[in-house]
């Protein structure tokens, strides 16, 4: 099923149901998804897996997604990877961009909105 140009998404969210549903969503749309519910694994995974994009929740148990984003953007091996942050807090988007994120989508999200944003970031 996976074609040569299939894009890989690294998805991190501490809620298993959200991870499950979102992975389903991306896979239905033909992406390959690597996921974790442990926020602090993400920088390491990004280095080893070299995904095409990271989709990162902000409020994860005990961890601030914005710090993770800063680490990705600070590391020479991962700083080129676009990061899209997601959160249930509507007004946190600004601070996500300040932390170096390339985009922000509010939860709960419209599937099209999320996919459009991912495609846009993959294009750039």
């Amino acid at each position: 099923m996976i074609k040569a140009d299939t894009k890989t998404i690294l998805l991190a969210d501490d809620d298993e149901a959200i991870v499950d549903a979102t992975v389903l969503m991306f896979e239905v749309m033909g992406y390959e998804v690597v996921h974790t519910i442990q926020g602090n694994n993400v920088p390491e995974m990004a280095i080893t897996k070299q995904p095409d994009i990271v989709v990162l929740d902000i409020w994860m148990s005990g961890i601030d997604g914005r710090d993770i984003c800063r680490q990705i953007k600070a590391h020479p091996d991962t700083r080129h990877i676009p990061v899209l942050m997601i959160s249930a807090s509507r007004h946190i988007g600004g601070s996500a961009l300040e932390a170096g994120a390339d985009g922000f989508v509010e939860k709960p999200f419209e599937m099209n909105t999320l996919l459009d944003k991912v495609e846009e970031l993959l294009r750039d």
């Binding site: 149901a17 959200i18 549903a21 249930a88 509507r90 007004h91 600004g94 939860k107 709960p108 599937m111």
Partner: protein, 871 residues
């Protein structure tokens, strides 16, 4: 020295050769032994007289002193010298007087006895006569000058000495013996004239002036101190080089002349400045003179020539005719005419009633009438004063106060109506009534012992007295003011005037007030007890906001005592973060009178702060004036904590609620995609409906979260620069997607960049648009428009729906408020949207409002600054 001579003829050749008349008389008989030609000529005799005795030769000398003088010289041997002695000689046949300077010298023999006398004589007749003539001339001149009161003076310009005649010295007040240098002259000149005289002298001493000097000035007598007016005339004389060498002239005392002129000027000045109108006209009525007062009254300018005017210019036609025909002919040549005439100001045409006095003016020489003079007094002030007096009298007549007027013995001369009524006297009864008759015994003693003496001393008295009603005998307490009236010229006391106020109503009112106060005082005690027994803090404040009572509860709770919290000290225990708001709210209430309600933290005895709800209401009098504020402080610490817990809970809950919604929504959308891909449109539609309901749920959760943040002060803003219209287009597009019925019409007039929180503003606009759709179910359009107001952008959303009634308009922005009424159930929602919007707009430094007509629709607007407020 004596000479020894025997024969005197020896001298003859010597004597004859002398040009000076010389003769020798020999012996005691005085025989003319020698007489030269000159002497013979002098005598007017021939040589034949030689050899004769002198008596024979000149018989006319008898009775003259010469024989005796010669005899004396002959006897004593002492020579005699006479200067300008007079001798009457017969010359040319008539006796003439001559003057000689002559000597009789004795010629003595060897024994020293006088043998002869040698007589030399010089004829000085011409000299003596001319000198006499000069003296006569001088005397005549001096007499003339004296009779003219004129003195002469001569200033020697080399020595600067003034040569005066006696008269002149007299004019300056010097004595005849004084010698006066010019500088001293100036010293006795009137100081006001010195400068002028110096100038005149200096001018006279320049050739250009021709040397003419003519001036009048005053002197201050050096010896007598008198002021004299001198008229000095003189001339300076110049040498060939144009240098003045002599300056002389006359001085005339013109004191009386100057006095007359001055009197004339004083008189004219008196007339000119007289307060009354004064004018002179000729018999035809042509004006000749008008003084300043007349010019003012009649409207003639200060320097205008009055001779252009005739009397007619200053009357109204009818009055002119009356004066012309009825007054002028009646002016008596001795007594004149007095009466009232109405003059007219020629500028304003005001008619001025005047008391006029006409007199006829006669030529002092011929007695012929040459004009008439008028003095006129403007009667308006008098008439006004009279009218005012009349009004004053009326005022006293109708005054509600007791007004009386007694002669110095206390006999009542006047008592106004209120006075008569107060003491029960009729108009016929009061006159002559003794003031002691209508005052109480106590008052009468006071009047006699204290009041009258003080009136005599200071002219006035005021204080309480008692009147006695003349019918009922009732004692009436009054407050009286009395004045001593004195005769204007002699200052003798002539009458006593008084005004009195009936004190009964005041006393009654005071009594009633005392009763009321006692009742109130009891009530206050009761209230204070009640206030102390309630669990809340109760306080009162003066209308200007000063706390004047706090109940006992305060002492049990507060960190400071009641006494230390009065006035404005209560703010000391307010939490610093709440103090300014609390103070502002209180000031707002006491200035506007709106009920006071605020919440703040207050320092407890324990050192902790507790939350209080503080409320106060104003107590007003019947006219709406605030008498007092009544307030309470209610402990709301527990409610506050509960609210905080609730907010925390809601915050956590709404975030937690979103998490499952996110996954459900994601599953639903995946399902919809999969159904659509498999061509199962029916199931795809069902899942789409489910998704829409999830959106509603999301929106409600979002609102709850925002309200929580607002209430806990955690609403965050992220300012950035953004394109306002681009944001609008996005919002309108997304809202347009939710409705098929309404067309959203855009009218954008603001086309600039904004600085602000793009997300929050989107949220507000979204809210206004969705509300507009929600509350206009029967309409088919919504209008959104913007205006550029410079530093602000204004945005309005207009709908054509159910509208809002006037009384509820301002409440729509309150938390949980929902448009109520019969249709309430029709419109779902938590009632949080407008509250959130209004909070966001306010936080951005803007304002939000609504205009609405019930049944026609509403227009919601907000205006926010284009630039972010400086934090």
């Amino acid at each position: 020295m004596s000479t020894q001579i025997t024969d005197h003829t020896h001298f003859q050749p010597l004597v004859e050769a002398s040009p000076m008349p010389t003769a020798i008389y020999s012996g005691a008989d005085m025989i003319i032994s020698v007489a030269n030609e000159a002497m013979l000529n002098l005598w007017g005799k021939k040589a034949s007289v030689i050899g004769k005795t002198l008596r024979e030769a000149l018989p006319e000398l008898d009775g003259q002193p010469f024989h005796d003088l010669l005899a004396q010289v002959y006897t004593t041997g002492e020579p005699y010298v006479a200067k300008e002695g007079r001798a009457d000689l017969v010359v040319d046949g008539r006796l003439q007087s001559f003057y000689f300077t002559f000597t009789y010298k004795p010629l003595k023999n060897a024994e020293g006895q006088t043998e002869a006398i040698i007589n030399t004589a010089a004829d000085v007749t011409e000299l003596v006569l001319s000198r006499a003539r000069i003296r006569e001339t001088e005397e005549r001149m001096s007499f003339a000058l004296q009779s003219a009161g004129m003195g002469t003076w001569d200033l020697n310009l080399e020595t600067n000495e003034v040569i005066w005649d006696d008269r002149c010295k007299e004019l300056y007040g010097f004595s005849k013996e004084d010698r006066v240098p010019y500088q001293q002259v100036l010293k006795y000149m009137h100081t006001a004239d010195v400068e002028r005289v110096n100038r005149a002298v200096a001018y006279a001493l320049t050739p250009a002036s021709g040397g003419v000097y003519d001036i009048k000035f005053r002197t201050l007598g050096a010896d007598d101190g008198k002021i004299r007016w001198l008229h000095c005339k003189g001339n300076a004389y110049f040498n060939a080089d144009g240098q003045p060498y002599r300056f002389a002239g006359t001085a005339l005392d013109v004191t009386s002349e100057a006095g007359a002129r001055r009197r004339e000027l004083q008189l004219l000045s008196l007339v000119e400045r007289n307060a009354d109108h004064m004018s002179i006209a000729d018999m035809e009525g042509n004006l000749i003179y008008m003084n300043a007062a007349a010019r003012t009254i009649l409207g003639v300018d200060e320097h205008e020539d009055v001779t252009h005017y005739t009397a007619q210019d200053f009357y109204q036609p009818q009055e002119f005719k009356r004066v012309q025909q009825g007054v002028i002919p009646q002016i008596d040549s001795e007594k004149g005419w007095q009466g009232v005439i109405h003059l007219m100001n020629r500028k304003t045409h005001d008619v001025i009633p005047c008391q006029v006095n006409y007199i006829l003016i006669k030529d002092p020489q011929t007695g012929e009438v040459i004009g008439r003079g008028a003095t006129a007094r403007d009667l308006r002030p008098e008439l006004k004063a009279k009218a005012e007096l009349q009004r004053l009298a009326t005022l006293i007549d109708v005054s509600e106060d007791f007004c009386n007027y007694c002669d110095i013995n206390g006999n009542t001369l006047y008592l106004n109506e209120s006075g008569r009524e107060l003491i029960g006297l009729t108009e016929e009864q009061y006159y002559g009534k003794q003031l002691y008759e209508y005052h109480s015994d106590a008052s009468n003693r006071l009047i006699a012992d204290e009041l009258i003496p003080q009136l005599l001393k200071t002219g006035r008295w005021s204080g309480p007295l008692e009147l006695v009603h003349q019918v009922t005998g009732e004692i009436i307490p009054i407050h009286k003011q009395m004045f001593m009236v004195r005769e204007e010229i002699t200052n003798e006391p002539v009458a006593i005037a008084g005004i009195a106020r009936d004190l009964r109503p005041e006393l009654n009112a005071r009594k009633a007030l005392d009763v009321k106060n006692a009742e109130l005082s009891a009530l206050v005690t009761e209230m204070a007890f009640m206030a102390d027994s309630v669990p809340v803090i109760v306080w009162t404040s003066t209308p200007d906001g000063h706390i004047d009572y706090v109940n006992e509860r305060w002492n049990q709770l507060s960190a400071i005592s009641i006494d230390n919290s009065l006035g404005t000290n209560w703010t000391d225990v307010i939490h610093p973060d709440d103090r300014q708001n609390a103070w502002d709210a209180w000031q707002h209430s006491i200035t506007t009178g709106v009920p006071f309600q605020t919440e703040y933290r207050c320092l407890e005895k324990s050192g902790n702060y507790r939350w209080y709800l503080v409320q106060a209401l104003p107590l007003r009098d019947s006219e709406g004036r605030i008498l007092k504020w009544y307030g309470t402080n209610t402990d709301i610490q527990e409610q506050k904590e509960l609210a905080r817990q609730k907010d925390n809970f809601l915050g956590v809950a709404s975030h937690e609620l979103k998490t499952p919604v996110t996954s459900i929504k994601a599953y639903a959308q995946v399902m919809e995609t999969l159904f659509t891909r498999s061509g199962d449109t029916r199931n795809a539609a069902i899942v789409a409906k489910m998704d829409k309901q999830l959106n509603r749920l999301t929106s409600l959760i979002g609102d709850l979260l925002d309200v929580t943040k607002i209430n806990t002060g955690r609403l965050e803003f992220h300012y950035s620069h953004y394109d306002f219209n681009q944001m609008l287009e996005e919002v309108v597009e997304s809202v347009q997607l939710t409705t098929e019925k309404h067309a959203i019409q855009k009218q954008f007039k603001f086309h600039r960049q904004m600085q602000g929180d793009r997300e929050r503003i989107s949220q507000v606009i979204t809210n206004l648009l969705t509300n507009a759709i929600k509350y206009s179910p029967d309409a088919n359009r919504i209008v959104i428009y913007t205006e550029d107001h410079g530093h602000e952008v204004q945005l309005c959303v207009q709908d054509f729906g159910i509208g809002i009634s006037q009384d509820k308009k301002d409440r729509v922005f309150e938390q949980f408020y929902r448009v109520s009424g019969s249709k309430e159930h029709t419109f779902p929602g938590l009632g949080l949207g407008l509250y959130i919007s209004s909070e966001i707009v306010k936080r951005m430094g803007g304002k939000i409002w609504v205009n609405s007509v019930e049944g026609k629709g509403s227009t919601f607007c907000f205006a926010i600054p284009v630039e972010a407020p400086v934090a």
